[in-house]
């Protein structure tokens, strides 16, 4: 984000100058309105207003007069949040995706890094083919990837029945990791390409210097390339963490292949299940808590990795 200092510099409005002083600015006001307003109106309507409304709903509660009396919605303070913190299913689902993330994100990014380094190294021929082959799964939507792997895991329909009939990949113990494999399959190639693009941006002279010092490919990869692609790794890391906390599609599809995926398997499934009850105020509170946790976790990750990168 710090790369965003363009030549145009500081916002003059922030310096306390009276607005409209510059003739140029006034002249373009109409054009700017045409260019900016359409996007900003939609952004407000479909990003800012929904977020604000979800927060508003999370503070509401339904009250009834007697058991069968008319229901009225009133300000409920932290009533919904008390329920969120008391919800064992929600915290269990959060623990599940955290465990998932602690294993799946490093494995996927490690794999993406190794494949990117190999494609970038002089050891491999046919780079173009590998790049496309590894990236192809990204073009498969999550729903279809999950359906496909659901069949591949199935004890009777899989082409690998030798494995799937003896190992219960869709059983309660393994299904989380079966989902982790689907996510890795879809996104490893995408992350590989981001890291590979960062590798391509390293000037060739750096390698020349390392080669003259007698460094082999492994040594160059470890001491020169990896430190230089840390920003790309941090970026893919943040987006992977966000994606993990928001996990929904794959487990929801797997619910038709196995009974081991409960309706509260991930935090977003808790949100969805609560909203189909329907209990929108509680679902909104779950959403708000999940969004805040996502934000905090990505922020902590950024702080930790940046400290490491600059030591």
């Amino acid at each position: 984000m710090s790369t965003q200092t363009t030549a145009t510099g500081r916002d003059p409005g922030a310096t306390g100058q009276p607005p409209g002083r510059s003739r140029r600015r006034t002249r373009h006001a109409g054009a700017l309105t045409v260019l900016v307003v359409p996007f900003f109106v939609l952004f407000t309507l479909f990003y800012l207003v929904p977020i604000g409304y979800a927060v508003f709903r999370s503070f509401r509660t339904v009250e009834r007069e007697g058991t069968f009396g008319p229901a009225t919605e009133v300000f409920g303070g932290l009533t919904q949040y008390e329920q969120v913190f008391a919800s064992e299913a929600f915290w269990a689902s959060l623990g599940r995706v955290l465990l998932f993330g602690v294993v799946q994100v490093p494995v996927m990014l490690g794999l993406a890094l190794v494949l990117a380094l190999l494609i970038d190294s002089p050891l491999v021929r046919g780079k173009r083919f590998y790049r496309l082959a590894f990236f192809a799964p990204y073009a498969v939507p999550g729903v279809i990837a999950a359906i496909m792997w659901g069949f591949l895991y199935s004890p009777s329909l899989s082409p690998f029945t030798a494995v799937t009939s003896s190992v219960p990949l869709l059983g309660g113990g393994l299904v989380l990791w079966a989902i982790a494999n689907v996510v890795t399959w879809v996104y490893a190639g995408y992350n590989m390409l981001i890291i590979y693009s960062a590798l391509q941006a390293i000037p060739g002279e750096i390698y020349e210097a390392a080669r003259i010092d007698g460094a082999g490919q492994l040594r160059i990869a470890w001491s020169v390339k990896i430190p230089l692609v840390v920003p790309a790794l941090v970026l893919t890391g943040v987006f992977s963490i966000i994606g993990t906390l928001q996990l929904l599609t794959e487990p929801q599809v797997f619910r038709s292949f196995t009974t081991s995926v409960s309706s509260t398997f991930t935090p977003n499934l808790v949100v969805y299940t609560t909203s189909t009850v329907p209990n929108f105020n509680l679902a909104a509170a779950f959403s708000v808590v999940l969004a805040l946790l996502t934000f905090v976790l990505s922020f902590v990750f950024l702080r930790l990795t940046q400290r490491k990168a600059f030591q």
């Binding site: 984000m1 790369t3 363009t6 145009t8 916002d11 409005g13 600015r25 054009a31 700017l32 260019l35 900016v36 996007f39 309507l45 479909f46 207003v49 929904p50 977020i51 409304y53 494949l115 190999l118 190294s121 002089p122 050891l123 491999v124 173009r128 590894f134 990236f135 192809a136 799964p137 073009a139 498969v140 939507p141 999550g142 729903v143 496909m148 659901g150 069949f151 009777s156 329909l157 190639g189 390409l193 981001i194 890291i195 693009s197 391509q200 941006a201 390698y207 920003p231 970026l235 966000i242 599609t249 619910r255 038709s256 977003n268 949100v271 909203s275 929108f280 909104a284 996502t294 934000f295």
Partner: protein, 300 residues
């Protein structure tokens, strides 16, 4: 962003193979084995899907999964496109409207806004940009329920609009358009257009848009994929099957296969038909989107 402008240099010839002359054969072999194994990992599932979609229902379960049996692709396609009054074709059309038209309009809106942020100085510009940048970090799944609440407040759930309108907004597109406009549209050119008497908006549509074309293709492709892949939003918004995009339709069919086993054929062929255009589009347009990925990598 300098990486973005260098995409033309990419290609198989960009990496000099001569560097590798001195590498030991053993290292090459190990590298080849690793690359081969992962090529299988990434491509075998797609291969399986392609093969499975050519099999009849009986042979699907009874023959070896990774090779062809009797060729039934045409029968399967007929079954797919006629099942339930041809609803699959409708789902494909819906997906093209949501993702195709949505990404097209979304790219236009995002590039206009990003261009204004990149080329003009105005009051509140930085605040506006930072708010939009915050939107990049908000995942589409997190917005689905809040959007549902808003749309049900105005009684518009279960309509085309409820999926189409929110999909138009691409904060990442604004971000990309801004850095690309700042780098590729020279101020002198805008000044010259002004002297010629061209209005600012007209200059954008006649001159600047052409200079920004590579960024626009990238924004379009990534927004297309985001909308095509968005599952949660149509899941919560739509109850009328006729409005489903193809992914939600396949999900619905797949949920019924336990009760209606013959639907399995439709699910498999339908999944295959749905991914082929996307894979082809990605392969055909790769020199554009790879530049976008590189620009994305600069973000951190």
């Amino acid at each position: 962003m300098s990486i973005l402008t260098r995409t033309e240099g990419y290609g198989p010839t960009a990496a000099p193979d001569s560097r590798g002359v001195r590498e030991r054969p053993m290292s090459r072999l190990v590298a080849f084995v690793i690359m081969g194994a992962f090529t299988l990992y990434f491509l075998v599932p797609i291969w399986w899907l392609a093969v499975a979609s050519t099999k009849s229902r009986g042979q699907f379960a009874s023959t070896a999964g990774l090779w062809f049996a009797d060729f039934h692709l045409w029968d399967n396609l007929t079954y797919l496109f006629t099942y339930d009054g041809g609803v699959y074709l409708r789902w494909l059309g819906n997906a093209v409207i949501y993702a195709g038209v949505g990404a097209l309009l979304g790219t236009l809106l995002a590039s206009m806004c990003g261009y204004a942020l990149g080329k003009y100085v105005f009051r509140g510009r930085n605040l506006l940009f930072n708010v939009i940048l915050g939107g990049v970090l908000v995942p589409v799944t997190a917005l689905a329920l809040p959007l549902f609440l808003i749309f049900s407040a105005v009684d518009l759930t279960n309509t085309y609009w409820s999926v189409f309108l929110p999909s138009l907004v691409s904060p990442f597109g604004v971000y990309l358009a801004r850095i690309y406009a700042a780098a590729s549209v020279p101020d002198e050119l805008l000044e010259a257009a002004r002297l010629d008497g061209s209005g600012e908006v007209r200059t954008f549509f006649t001159v600047s848009v052409r200079l920004m074309a590579p960024a626009l293709v990238t924004i379009f492709l990534f927004q297309f994929v985001t909308i095509w892949n968005n599952f949660f939003l149509p899941l919560v918004m739509l109850s009328d099957e006729k409005l489903y995009p193809v992914t939600l339709g396949l999900y619905a069919w797949n949920s019924q296969t336990n009760a209606v086993p013959e639907l399995r054929t439709a699910v498999i062929v339908g999944a295959f038909v749905a991914i082929v255009p996307l894979i082809l589009a990605f392969l055909g347009l790769q020199r554009f989107w790879r530049g976008g990925l590189a620009a994305g990598g600069v973000k951190a």
